[in-house]
């Protein structure tokens, strides 16, 4: 994710190395390089402009504390601002919980549902899945097949048209500690489907509402995230398909927009390919700190 950032900033940071006063030209170079890297990674254009202005202003206006070099000072400011973009740590609790999966068509919700089920199961929890996708052909077979592979019960009914009813019935019949509700894909302009997910959130009284986003998602990410957030109050983002070449910047814009954080990263098509995400160690690694 953003993996071109570190190398892009290296040259500009080198120019600041060993200096005690902040050199305006070097800061301007740094901000340009940062902008370029973030735009190439699909971070929202407006957010990039905002973030780079803030970094420039702070780097030039704020006095470095005594004993702190220009390079360290600027690096600290870049770090602070990137933390806002990458979001906070989302703690995973191992208590009783219901997780509602939300996201655009084809983002990876169903695959990730199975990955999460496996994750909680391996932590010793009793896990079940509800298939609330009544729309996509083969949706039930898809999640049922994946659940069978990890021996997790999957509640669903491919003949039923009403996702609300399936979820109500599923919740009534399942007694497991962790229940993950897979939903059909939808986007911000589909009013009926946005209403549906609001209803599913109410019916389930979900503990978490996680937004599943493809790492390649571009400028639409921010607006889509805003609408999902308005609808169901997103409290975590899962970035999928990070095993390709996409940099995940769109999903980061969604994190910033929802004020949430990245919970997990999907790294492949198989059920094991899921990683928990720790924002601060990630940024430190990124900036070579």
């Amino acid at each position: 994710m953003l993996d071109n950032l570190g190398s892009n900033l290296k040259d500009a940071l080198r120019k600041l190395a060993g200096k005690t006063v902040i050199d305006r030209a070097a800061v301007e170079d740094l901000v340009k390089d940062l902008q370029r890297a973030l735009l190439q990674a699909d971070v929202n254009v407006k957010q990039v402009m905002q973030l780079s202005q803030t970094i420039k202003k702070r780097a030039l206006d704020e006095q470095p504390p005594k004993g702190v070099t220009a390079r360290e000072h600027v690096l600290r400011i870049v770090y602070d601002e990137l933390v806002l973009l990458v979001g906070k740590t989302v703690e995973i609790t191992l208590g009783k919980q219901i997780i509602l999966m939300a996201g655009l068509q084809g983002s990876g919700k169903t695959t990730t549902t199975a990955k999460l089920a496996r994750f909680f199961k391996r932590k010793g929890m009793r896990v079940a899945v509800i298939c609330a996708d009544t729309f996509r052909p083969g949706a039930y077979t898809q999640i049922k097949t994946l659940c069978d592979r990890i021996q997790v019960p999957c509640y669903g009914n491919p003949a039923e048209q009403d996702a609300r009813k399936i979820v109500r019935d599923g919740l009534a019949s399942l007694k497991d500690e962790v229940i993950i509700v897979d939903t059909q894909g939808r986007h911000a302009l589909e009013d009926d489907l946005i209403t549906e997910i609001i209803d599913l959130n109410e019916i389930t009284r979900a503990t978490h509402r996680w937004l599943v986003l493809d790492a390649a998602l571009g400028q639409q990410a921010r607006e889509q995230a805003r609408r999902f957030h308005d609808a169901v109050n997103i409290d975590g983002v899962i970035i999928t398909k990070m095993d390709g070449t996409a940099k995940g910047g769109g999903a980061l814009s969604a994190v910033a927009e929802t004020g949430s954080g990245i919970v997990f990263i999907g790294q492949g098509e198989t059920i094991e390919d899921l990683e928990w995400f720790d924002p601060s160690s990630y940024i430190s690694r990124l900036l070579g700190m």
């Binding site: 190439q40 254009v45 097949t145 390649a216 998602l217 400028q219 390709g244």
Partner: protein, 279 residues
């Protein structure tokens, strides 16, 4: 005479617009730097503003990138039957749904169609295309999950030959361009099936990666035409520019929703008009 300074501000503004519509960063830079060097030092007619000159130069450049589109109906009429069309692309872009839409479109235009369930890998994939086939009344050739996709598609072509079917639409599993073994599998399908058209499917909401993956698919298995899906999520057609620029091939259709009817012929001038506001 137009100076570089004259066009600087307007180009900055246009650059933001293109980036905000998901034209990839590299593509945006390249197109705009061409315009800058073409226009700097050129003469301006009395009564034309720099703004309108730059905008129309950009519109021309974008139209040049997008090309004309393909008329699939005449393509099929002009080729030997069965016309074999293979759909490829990365995971979840809309290949299978697009196949169903195109199948319906071709049926409506009087062609007979058979589908090949060439995604034997993803859970539920065979079931998915089978349901589409049932709904559309179209035969779907399928083997078991985990079987060789080349064999399925080979059988699909054989079926079309035996039953005088006009068009074969072959599905494939989504895959990433950086997975050599999966790309080799596609290359094998291509060698054995010899498709007339390889349609590369990507989605309108994709950002900068659209360029990288289109280039890689183009290099390793080839692309003859592009289908851009999920335009209903993101009406700004920046990804169309990115992909067309990367592979230099025409767009076949755009997908505008999840229903069979949500498929439209590609209209380059509408895309450019959208990208440039009302220019």
């Amino acid at each position: 005479i137009i100076s570089e300074k004259d066009i600087h501000d307007i180009l900055d503004e246009l650059e933001m617009g293109l980036l905000e519509s998901d034209v990839a960063f590299s593509v945006t830079e390249e197109i705009l730097s061409h315009i800058k060097s073409d226009l700097s030092g050129s003469k301006r007619k009395i009564g034309t503003s720099v703004d309108s000159i730059v905008r129309s130069a950009l519109a021309d450049a974008l139209l040049g990138v997008l090309g004309e589109g393909v008329d699939i109906v005449s393509y099929i009429k002009e080729h030997d039957r069965p016309v074999k069309i293979l759909f490829t692309g990365v995971n979840g872009t809309g290949k299978t749904t697009s196949i169903a839409k195109v199948a319906k479109f071709l049926q409506n235009n009087g062609f007979s169609v058979v589908l090949g369930a060439g995604d034997t890998f993803r859970a539920g994939a065979i079931e998915q295309i089978d349901v589409h086939g049932q709904r559309l009344g179209i035969k779907v050739i399928q083997h078991q999950e985990g079987s060789d996709p080349t064999a399925v598609l080979f059988d699909t072509v054989e079926y079309a030959r035996a039953h005088q079917i006009d068009v074969v639409l072959g599905d494939t599993a989504g895959r990433f361009h950086n997975r050599a073994n999966l790309m080799n599998q596609l290359a094998k399908i291509r060698r054995v099936i010899k498709p007339d058209l390889i349609v590369y499917v990507d989605e309108a909401v994709a950002g900068n990666d659209a360029v990288i993956r289109a280039e890689e698919f183009s290099k390793s298995v080839g692309i003859d035409a592009v289908m851009l899906t999920k335009v209903d999520m993101d009406p700004k057609g920046g990804a169309a520019i990115s992909i067309a620029h990367a592979v230099g091939k025409p767009l076949l259709f755009i997908g505008t929703g999840q229903a069979y009817e949500d498929v439209m012929a590609f209209n380059p001038s509408a895309v450019v008009a959208d990208l440039l506001g009302d220019a």
